[in-house]
């Protein structure tokens, strides 16, 4: 088996990752905005007897890098030299894209041109003479649609053929004068054009030639080479592209007239965000109820029955019902909320609206010293802080990058939302308002953090704004579901590993030392009481709250699973008669009803999800309601909002910025979270106690 390395190179947002996903069956992240891919990523596939390693690179407009992600692509192409470059081109913007093609050709690596977005080109009346292009450059040219996968199949056989026939692109010819000079500085037979140009522009010993050029052209050598490249790209474009005059109006232009309207744009943005959260709650609420019932009154009785009939013993059954059902199962009821919110966030990302928010909000952001582009990672933070932090690599300056990384952890993610939605419903009449305020509070703390950093450490001034806005695009449903599934799978995986382990650990601590009767005399209680004084000023002196917070530094959902486990032993279990066929029917009917309610909810103008229902029995909710006051519940939520209790986030900060930054930030977030919790507890106490 021979192995081949192929790099996908091209301008940002032209469909490189989409094509790689089709070729290698991977699900690397795709999105309709420049800057989705910021690291070198790879996929592998087999074809005939070749193992083909496909390297996905961040998009670049030119091989003159500025930001960190652009450097990654530049370094890979110039230093590692792949066996073949798959140059992906956005056909509607061929003239622009051909500049990079010319620069890539200078490296004299075998190449295949992929004319992607052929569907959009066709709609715009753009036609390409592929055969002529192929002859002019001496490379194979393929036409694809990265959205549907049309034409992608032809890529692999062409790669293998081109390489086994040792096809080489024609060597680019610039103007005679330049070629003559380049030949003079050639020292070896096999030097590439790129190497020659680099020597001409940079090497000390060739400064004489630079002066010659300046005399001949009246310009810097840099300028002259640049002009030659552009002329080449433009010439190619003129040769192969023809366009029919079309009269149909561009949908993107029409949408932008409204969505980017100088006055309406920003209110519309807030309205869209409001809709996003409203729909996620309202649609998922009935489904969450259903999952709750499904686990509690269907799965749990079945498994208990099995455990009992196998005679595995009482403590196994208790472990199951308290740690697995009470802890892990409890967290699982939030799966619908997670799925719906990611579905909507994915729509936002694929539509092309995301970078437009950066454009719209820059007028406010830059007044407070932040770059509008920072908004893209900040918004991604509402989905998950970890990829959001990685996304800061597209920012052009280190200052912006660090500022934004210090803000992202305060953007509330779905893991926090899950905790809030649970507590807010128990303690407040208007849970939606409370949750909304928490989100805003997080944003304010982020802004305050940025302000402090700007006044002390990162003084510099603001950088220019340069960004491309893609056309609005519709994703395929398959693509959206793949994204949603990736997040749900991740959540389930964590439920099955981390959260499960934490629940079991807590359960054992609750049942140690052996023979302990009352949980309040268990090891877990002793541990909780040991750290409770720290949380007493926040009104959280109940050992059960303190104990739940201990393992939550791994991930915030663990607070819920731990509480579920701790309180599960106190919830009276009602023994009900269980008939499989009847229960099954009930579940199916219930699911139907939940789906119907979910759909109806979406069309209600006001949020409905949080209408509090009375529950008569000793449920988890009523137990928690009796062990906390509203003020301390608020303090608890704020503490969890602000303190970076997420191993993933700390780890990615460590990797992206460094150990010192990550640990300092962790301490900072703890202090801020604690202080804010303390103040709110005091203020809340004044309000609710009078």
């Amino acid at each position: 088996m021979k192995s081949i390395t192929v790099a996908l190179a091209g301008n940002p947002n032209v469909g490189k990752t989409s094509i790689l996903n089709h070729l290698a069956g991977t699900s690397l992240k795709v999105g309709n905005w420049p800057g989705v891919t910021v690291e070198k990523r790879e996929g592998k596939t087999k074809f005939w007897d070749y193992e083909i390693k496909l390297i996905d690179l961040p998009g670049v407009y030119t091989l003159e890098p500025i930001s960190e992600d652009e450097w990654v692509a530049y370094k890979y192409i110039t230093e590692e030299r792949p066996d073949l470059i798959l140059n992906v081109i956005e056909t509607p913007n061929m003239e622009r894209d051909l500049l990079l093609t010319v620069e890539l050709l200078e490296h004299e690596v075998p190449m295949i041109l992929v004319l992607n977005m052929s569907d959009e080109a066709q709609k715009l009346g753009i036609e390409i003479n592929e055969k002529w292009l192929s002859e002019l450059l001496g490379v194979r040219v393929l036409k694809t649609n990265g959205r549907t996968g049309e034409g992608v199949k032809a890529i692999l056989p062409n790669i293998v053929e081109a390489l086994s026939l040792r096809e080489k692109p024609k060597v680019l010819k610039y103007s005679d004068k330049i070629e003559e000079i380049l030949e003079k500085i050639r020292e070896r037979e096999d030097e590439t054009k790129a190497e020659l140009i680099k020597k001409l522009l940079e090497a000390k010993e060739f400064s004489k030639y630079r002066e010659d050029i300046r005399r001949m052209f009246g310009k810097d050598a840099h300028e002259v080479i640049k002009d030659e490249r552009y002329a080449k790209a433009h010439g190619l474009y003129r040769e192969v592209v023809s366009r029919k005059a079309l009269t149909s109006r561009d949908i993107t232009d029409s949408l932008d007239k409204v969505l980017l309207h100088p006055l309406l744009g920003i209110p519309l943005f807030f309205f869209i965000m409001f809709l996003l959260f409203k729909v996620s709650f309202d649609f998922s609420a009935p489904l969450m109820d259903w999952v709750d019932g499904f686990i509690g009154s269907f799965l749990a009785p079945i498994v208990s029955e099995v455990i009992r009939s196998l005679g595995l013993g009482d403590w196994i059954e208790r472990l199951f019902s308290e740690a697995v059902v009470g802890g892990v199962g409890f967290v699982l009821t939030f799966v619908p909320l997670i799925a719906v919110i990611y579905f909507l966030l994915a729509l936002l990302e694929f539509s092309g609206y995301l970078p437009r928010v950066a454009f719209l909000m820059d007028r406010f952001m830059h007044r407070i010293g932040l770059h509008g582009k920072s908004l893209v990672p900040l918004l991604l933070g509402f989905g998950c802080n970890v990829p959001a932090i990685v996304a800061t690599r597209t920012l052009e300056t280190k200052r912006d990058k660090l500022l934004v990384i210090a803000m992202i952890p305060f953007m509330s993610c779905p893991a926090r939302l899950v905790v809030f939605s649970f507590f807010a419903v128990i303690f407040f009449k208007n849970p939606a308002v409370v949750i909304f305020s928490l989100y805003i509070f997080g944003i304010l703390v982020a802004l305050m953090t940025a302000f402090l950093l700007r006044k002390t450490t990162f003084k510099g001034s603001l950088y220019h704004f340069v960004m491309e806005l893609p056309p609005y695009r519709l994703p395929t449903l398959r693509l959206i579901f793949r994204v949603v599934w990736a997040y749900v799978k991740d959540f389930l995986y964590r439920a099955g590993t981390l959260i499960f382990a934490a629940s079991v650990l807590i359960w054992f601590l609750l049942n140690l030392p052996p023979g302990v009767k009352n949980p309040s005399e268990s090891l877990a209680a002793h541990l909780g009481r040991a750290i409770a004084p720290l949380f007493k000023p926040l009104g959280l002196d109940d050992w059960r709250m303190a104990t739940s917070l201990i393992p939550a530094f791994l991930a915030r959902e663990i607070v819920l699973s731990s509480m579920g486990t701790i309180y599960a032993s106190e919830i009276e279990r009602q023994e009900q008669e269980f008939k499989l066929s009847e229960a099954l029917r009930e579940q199916v009917v219930g699911l139907g009803r939940a789906l119907k309610d979910a759909t109806l909810n979406v069309f209600r103008p006001v949020p409905t999800a949080f209408e509090v229902e009375e529950e008569g029995t000793e449920s988890l909710k009523s137990l928690i309601a009796s062990s906390l006051s509203p003020a301390s519940a608020l303090a608890f939520m704020v503490f969890l909002l602000l303190y970076t209790s997420c191993l993933g986030t700390v780890a990615v900060m460590w990797r992206e910025v460094g150990k010192k930054f990550a640990l300092l930030f962790l301490v900072y977030s703890l202090l801020v979270g604690w202080t804010a919790g303390f103040i709110l507890y005091r203020v809340g106490g004044l309000i609710w106690n009078t």
Partner: protein, 70 residues
């Protein structure tokens, strides 16, 4: 005149990019270079939204000042 002075809806031809900053090279590579036609779609805050060929590019006014147009 320079690009900053163009009004929304107007279409102009780029004459020259003045300045030595690295970012201008990127701006050029994004299609804003000598001889190209650009139209100004919107002005919002410190930024301009331009259409070049079939792509839309946002640049801030401080950069637009470096671009001479006609």
């Amino acid at each position: 005149m320079n690009l900053e002075e163009v009004r929304p809806g107007q279409e102009v031809t780029i004459l020259e990019l003045v300045g030595k900053e690295d970012i201008l090279k990127k701006v050029e590579a994004m299609g804003l270079r000598r001889g190209r036609r650009v139209s100004l779609l919107q002005k919002v805050g410190r930024n301009l939204l331009l259409k070049v060929d079939n792509s839309r590019v946002v640049i801030s006014k401080d950069l637009a000042r470096n671009i001479e147009v006609q």
